[in-house]
């Protein structure tokens, strides 16, 4: 099999300025690499090139840049980072769009709301912890065959599908003024849970069986770190790579929490 021919474009190079840190608690530094750019190149292909040629612009031998990556199709969420200050997936970041001219500079930094593991790789465990806190699942009876699930209209399916496309990348958290870096797990349950988890609460409350746990989910959304911590900056929805209507979810859960609180006040349940 022969690889497809690509039309030859003028060879050019792009300068990558990368914020590097050898490990947690270590000092950070900038390193720059000049990377020859082929047509269709993206940030990942450039990081791959740097890994094979880790020499900085001042001629110093360095090491491959650590980063997270998976599908490279913008569907797994792994390769999220700050590119020229904007949070996004690096796989879908095409160099021709970001740095069209020879010698253009691209700045790569790790997300700032999660602890750095190394270089561009961060620890997003708190994000998954928030899904546990939200009970983001349908409490099925088990895996034995018990017939189909609840009926769903195409309209409701479309709403749930959109919410369910959340790939836990963390863009909404990076952009949120209320979401702060919390290194220690002990503080996660009191800190703002974030738009993604609020939206997942809505997703599962919308499901016929998932709704059984609606009350538990709303309890998790009351009080410190819950939905009322949202400052309504609406940055989340602007940076979501999947265009998930996060602010609608926050509004919907906000209303549900209010009703839930009033009901709890009067019934004690």
């Amino acid at each position: 099999m022969v690889p497809p021919t690509t039309e030859a474009l003028q060879a050019r190079s792009v300068r990558f300025r990368i914020k590097r840190q050898d490990g947690p608690g270590r000092p950070w530094r900038w390193e720059s690499f000049d990377v020859p750019v082929e047509p269709g190149a993206n940030v990942i292909s450039c990081l791959q090139w740097i890994a094979a040629n880790p020499r900085t612009v001042d001629g110093r031998d360095s090491s491959p840049v650590a980063y997270d990556a998976g599908c490279l199709e913008e569907v797994c969420g792994a390769c999220t980072m700050l590119i020229n200050g904007q949070v996004r997936q690096s796989c879908s970041c095409l160099i021709d769009q970001y740095a069209p001219k020879d010698g253009d500079v691209m700045r790569l930094e790790p997300m700032s709301k999660f602890p750095v593991v190394r270089d561009l790789m961060v620890d997003r465990q708190r994000l998954f912890h928030a899904l546990t806190r939200t009970k983001a699942w349908v409490p099925i009876d088990g895996t034995y065959h018990l017939g189909p699930g609840p009926q769903d209209t195409p309209q409701r399916q479309q709403v749930r599908y959109k919410l369910s496309e959340c790939m836990s990348c963390g863009c909404c958290l990076e952009a949120c003024p209320q979401y702060k870096l919390e290194e220690h797990e002990s503080r996660w349950d009191k800190a703002f849970i974030g738009a993604h988890a609020i939206s997942q609460a809505r997703l599962f409350n919308e499901h016929g069986t998932g709704n059984v746990l609606a009350s538990d989910r709303l309890d998790a959304m009351i009080g410190p770190g819950g939905v009322s911590d949202c400052g309504n900056a609406q940055n989340c929805v602007k940076v979501c790579p999947k265009d998930i209507p996060l602010t609608e979810s926050i509004a919907a859960i906000g209303r549900a929490v209010t009703i839930h609180s009033i009901r709890k006040f009067f019934t004690g349940k």
Partner: protein, 622 residues
């Protein structure tokens, strides 16, 4: 459980449900596993198709015919009968399957079938299925029945030998952040690590699909079967870092593949009138048209581009045209893939035909596994402890990493099914093995077994860290990918494969003198890659040698020097055993259980196409 894709998660759920606790290891957070990339859907017999004469039996027959009769039939029979139940289960878990106006689950056509039997959630079905299972596993985790070890890489199985023989009693794994190496005890180990696309350099696979885990099991004594059967997906988008999948659902929903009838036609595709377009799949396969199975579509596209020079602009591309389907329809049914094309190519498939070319996609081959058939061969015995167990007792292989179900070519939308089926059906067998077969629990084994296994891995890592050679692992990996893609994908021949073996041996030699640019012991991805590369080279040899030994053409394996299927000699599994003395695979052939559907010619109703008369002699026949 090693691997947190569909097979690993489904197995985890089933085993936890049986009351056992599961340690789940994954190189990535399980929600980011490669199953997330599956797009088109999941096959199952359904009420509408049944009223048109379809049933589980037709699903079974299609799968066998699509696989060119190379798979054992009882496991396939069992799987297709579970399919409708699996759809119901996923539905209960909350998978947002597309719905019809009457709130029924919507269906689409897929390759190798004339019936609509593919259930889907937009064009990100794998993502939606993975998330549903991920959520259920999180639920078990919250109850303390599942412990996740994410960012841990499987390095080796821990084997123990006593008077009853050898068995697997744990694994050695490495935290890819802290680089800590540890041995873990287990009563049984399931490998569910997916495919090996990275061996081919650029593929549709995720970056962690190196095949290293399977290769390590193989080097530890597990057999590897049918390695030569690598599926090359007909429609991928070539990219600088990988080949992005363009789902078969694009064709299932009405997408048409064509090239201009004139060579190197430079016109905008929208300006080329209908009568000057060559819809070669529709002409050659009037019955199936654009939804012929993948191996056939891939060879036809390859033939059009490489042999006939009819590719778009004279290059290696054909059009996949969705422009006649309308934007609203596309967004509803194919939104996810339309978006991928838009983002990565910068053109709108609703307006301009997409340009695509085949790309390495799936491994039909994998770790050799056993099963217990029912007496009449119609299915597997429920709960049998050896279901999908490798030749090493206690070591199982689920999902893409085993060689079952798909034979010589997998049908689209059968992979999600086989992965989840393995987890659910064979997970029960694993639980039974632990509860009923294992007599000495791993807790009672001597710690020295585990210490020795961990030490052995530490030595391999230390050797790599201290290596001061000049060869770059990335360069070797790149050359490996280029050679494997050139020699062992769409078209193969003995001469070319032998040449590739020589190249491989040179690469293996150079691997002995690599040097790492990063010698630190914290999140050293350079080291992890270099370690995996050594195992990829070993598995590549299995793939090549299997291709050399199989002197016939069948499904995805096409040999120009043996263009026909040869049932008399090769209706057999190629099974590779690692020979420690020669450091090479030793291959033997094993018969295939074909007791339910006798092999027949596999033509998909092919006829000669109008411009097909001028084909060169060195041609790709199907």
């Amino acid at each position: 459980m090693v691997g947190g894709g569909l097979a690993g998660l489904a197995g985890t759920i089933r085993i936890a449900e049986a009351g056992l606790s599961v340690d789940l290891f994954s190189m990535v957070p399980v929600k980011r596993s490669h199953s997330v990339c599956a797009q088109g859907g999941i096959n199952a017999a359904n009420d509408i198709a049944r009223q048109q004469g379809y049933s589980e039996y037709e699903h079974f027959d299609e799968t066998i015919y699509g696989g060119d009769f190379l798979q054992h039939q009882p496991p396939v029979y069992e799987m297709v009968h579970w399919a409708p139940k699996i759809i119901d289960l996923l539905d209960r878990m909350g998978v947002p399957f597309n719905r019809t106006a009457e709130s029924q689950r919507d269906l689409r056509l897929f390759g190798g079938s004339l019936y609509k039997r593919t259930h889907f959630a937009g064009a990100t079905t794998g993502q939606q299925l993975l998330y549903a299972l991920d959520e259920q596993v999180r639920r078990w985790e919250a109850q303390g029945k599942v412990n996740k070890y994410e960012y841990w890489e499987f390095l080796w199985p821990v084997l123990e030998t006593d008077d009853t023989g050898r068995r697997c009693v744990g694994i050695v794994a490495q935290d890819v952040r802290t680089m800590q190496i540890r041995a873990f005890r287990a009563e049984a180990v399931v490998i569910a690590t997916g495919g090996c696309g990275m061996i081919f350099g650029k593929s549709t696979n995720s970056v962690m699909c190196t095949g290293a885990a399977a290769s390590r099991c193989y080097q530890a004594g597990a057999w590897y079967a049918n390695g030569e059967f690598i599926q090359v997906h007909p429609t991928a988008i070539p990219g600088a870092d990988k080949l992005r999948l363009m789902s078969e659902s694009a064709r299932g929903e009405g997408g048409r593949v064509w090239v201009p009838r004139t060579k190197a036609d430079r016109r905008d595709p929208r300006d080329i009138p209908e009568n000057q377009r060559f819809y070669f799949l529709e002409e050659k396969y009037p019955k199936y048209g654009n939804i012929v199975p993948r191996d056939i579509a891939t060879r036809e596209i390859f033939d059009i581009c490489v042999n006939q020079g009819l590719g778009v602009g004279g290059g290696n591309m054909v059009y996949l045209d969705l422009t006649h389907l309308g934007r609203e329809y596309l967004e509803l049914k194919l939104g996810g893939i339309i978006e991928i094309y838009r983002k990565f190519v910068g053109e709108d498939p609703a307006l301009v035909p997409m340009k695509i070319f085949p790309g390495v996609h799936y491994s039909m081959g994998g770790l050799w596994t056993q099963y217990t058939a029912k007496d009449d061969l119609r299915g597997m015995a429920m709960g049998a402890a050896n279901s999908m167990m490798t030749n090493i007792p206690g070591l199982y292989a689920f999902g893409e990493v085993n060689y079952q179900y798909h034979g010589a070519n997998r049908l689209g939308a059968n992979a999600l099914l086989s992965c989840i089926f393995d987890g659910l059906f064979c997970g029960a067998g694993v639980a039974n093995y632990v509860l009923e077969v294992v007599t000495t629990t791993s807790a009672r084994l001597d710690q020295s077994i585990y210490d020795a296994a961990a030490r052995q891995q530490q030595e391999i890592i230390d050797r790599l860290i201290n290596a001061r050679g000049t060869e770059s692992p990335y360069q070797i990996g790149r050359e490996l990918g280029e050679e494997m893609t050139a020699a062992s994908t769409v078209v193969k021949s003995e001469q070319r494969l032998l040449q590739a073996i020589e190249v491989l041996q040179l690469l293996q030699g150079r691997y002995q003198s690599i040097g790492l640019s990063d010698t630190g012991m914290w999140t050293n991805q350079n080291l992890s890659y270099a370690r995996a590369l050594g195992d990829m080279l070993k598995l590549a040899e299995v793939i090549l040698q299997g291709g050399i030994d199989r002197k016939e053409s069948r499904g995805a394996h096409y040999r120009t020097d043996f263009p026909d299927r040869d049932d008399a000699n090769f209706l057999k599994t190629t099974v590779a055993k690692y020979d420690r003395d020669t450091d090479r695979p030793d291959i033997f052939l094993e018969p295939v259980e074909t007791g339910l559907v006798p092999p027949r010619a596999r033509t998909y109703g092919k006829v000669a196409a109008s411009t097909d008369t001028t084909r060169p002699t060195e041609t790709v026949s199907v």
